[in-house]
Point group: C2
Chain length 331, copies 2
């Protein structure tokens, strides 16, 4: 095994979020699937920005948020993802480095701009994402830094990476490097529609042992096994994977291993403001717990705690030190 440099490396689409409030009617009118990640082209991005309300911009991207969460918890995190050398690319780079995440992927020059996701937050706190992938479509094998992968206890990647054309091959390579160095790998299933698009490939990754730890929310787990019954999906996950975690929003989460099922409650909220980043921060808390040697139920509690912080404000990354928050909660 190589020297350990990082607790967790996350790999994903490097995105800046543009976040505005919207009514449910607006989503219907603009054909936006509520609660989902909708992929859009440059033209639709321009249109949606025109009809969008006043917004704030904040670095996002599922795996980027997870890396930021791990750093905020006091863990050593690294991130691989593609941005262009433009304003948003500089913002993304600044923010992820500023929280202490190692990020060294080469900038894309003279090609697509940095990815952005226009996120509409409805009064119920649900977010509906509209992502123009831009520079992310250029993430490829040469970006997989073997030293970083070999030096990370866990390499985690998002299912969303199956959308850009070359990333999935790169991820298979990354997983191979990780396993050659006796490291663990992990996937987030990202979105039920994403699972729909790549169900067979995701099942292959899980059953074939390319990924060791699976994160899914209840909708994604059900989509993966094409069932409307969560218990059925959980039993299937138990069969297919050594360790998986299913998040259930306000109902907390379920950790599933071959031997047992552990249910952990969600943390109480003052106010649900914006669910953006909930799953990403859950994964951050869980993986930080795992890489710092905590018991599995404390890993789940850390995940719920990190998720509870991020959904009580606008923006997909923690606004306070999660390390301090965890200490206050005795975690």
């Amino acid at each position: 095994m190589s020297e350990t440099r990082f607790d967790v490396l996350t790999i994903g689409n490097a995105i800046v979020d543009i976040i505005a409030k919207a009514e449910d009617d607006f989503l219907v009118q603009e054909n936006i699937i509520k609660g989902a990640m909708n992929l859009i082209d440059a033209e639709r991005a321009e249109h949606l920005y025109e009809v969008m309300g006043p917004a704030i911009e904040a670095s996002g991207g599922s795996a980027g948020n997870t890396a930021a969460g791990i750093a905020s918890l006091g863990g050593k995190a690294a991130f691989i993802g593609k941005v262009a050398e433009d304003h948003l690319g500089k913002v993304f780079t600044h923010d992820i480095r500023a929280i202490g995440v190692h990020f060294d992927t080469e900038f894309l020059v003279d090609a697509e701009p940095t990815a952005r996701s226009m996120i509409f937050v409805t009064p119920d706190g649900e977010r509906s994402m509209n992502t123009y992938l831009g520079a992310c479509t250029r993430l490829a094998s040469p970006d997989m830094d073997a030293d970083v992968i070999a030096g990370s206890k866990i390499t985690y990647f998002e299912g969303y990476l199956w959308d850009p054309p070359e990333a999935k091959a790169a991820i298979r390579e990354a997983a191979k490097i990780a396993h050659e160095h006796e490291r663990l790998t992990s996937i987030s299933l990202s979105d039920p529609f994403c699972v729909d698009r790549y169900r067979d490939e995701f099942l292959d990754l899980i059953k074939g042992g390319t990924v060791d730890i699976v994160f899914a929310n209840d909708a994604e787990a059900k989509s993966l096994y094409q069932t409307s019954d969560l218990a059925t999906a959980i039993n299937a996950l138990r069969e297919d994977s050594h360790l998986s975690v299913v998040t259930k929003g306000a109902d907390g989460c379920v950790v599933v291993t071959r031997e047992k099922t552990i249910e952990v409650d969600a943390f109480p909220l003052d106010e649900l403001v914006d669910t953006t980043g909930a799953g990403d921060l859950f994964a951050a808390g869980f993986l930080h717990g795992l890489t710092s040697g905590r018991e599995i139920d404390d890993c789940a509690r850390l995940g719920c705690l990190a998720a509870s912080e991020v959904i009580q404000h606008v923006g997909p990354r923690p606004q306070v030190s999660l390390k301090q928050l965890a200490e206050q909660e005795g975690l």
Copy 2:
């Protein structure tokens, strides 16, 4: 009098805020005056961004925030200010138009970039601003749209406009146009250090009748009259101006006319998060009350209500409909 097109026109530095949390030690270390607006050059802007924590970006600028507040309250607002034709300029333009504010000032091309203010929010919720003025330094007389000024019940501008070189002459012209059309003018004193820089000019504007309504917080009022006693400052304001309003943070505000003094309490808060925009939104509420024919104490209450919304989240502009909020409060 021309046909009324707008309730309030605001004129000010068009700025995008870059907001991060910071500890008090950091401010000391970086020589940032706490609670103040610190003017910085391009080189220092680069340095501060390097040492800044992860940030969010949101359109700001004092008078821009006030215009957004008036629109959110259901008033007709216009804004004049200078941005460049770059990413931040487009963001500023999008956000202010998206909330319904008329904004038509010509973009600056091939010159300084759009202004940005790096704002550090300390754990007490206080914000310390570091502003690179960029394109704002080019705001000048040709930008003063006489039709818009003549068609606005009140033209309001920020004291900060005395920093860029040509804006103050433009503002004097704007005030002249407003008064020729029997309209009112108003100034915000912006910042106690700004008052220090331009005390004589501000007193001249007030005493000479160039401005009809004065907004100040307690520190600015005391700085204007170089006194440590707020009552002394308030008495001087009463002598010099027909109508002025002094805000006192958690202690609410004082409306001062020749005949009377009205004290209004602040609205209760769940949590003070970030004071950025407090004074700007107070002015929005007060001016909206005034231009919609409300009693003076209700104007002050609207001001306090709008301020209370903006300081309970990160970012300098309202995140909910202030009109609905006001209706809920019976205002």
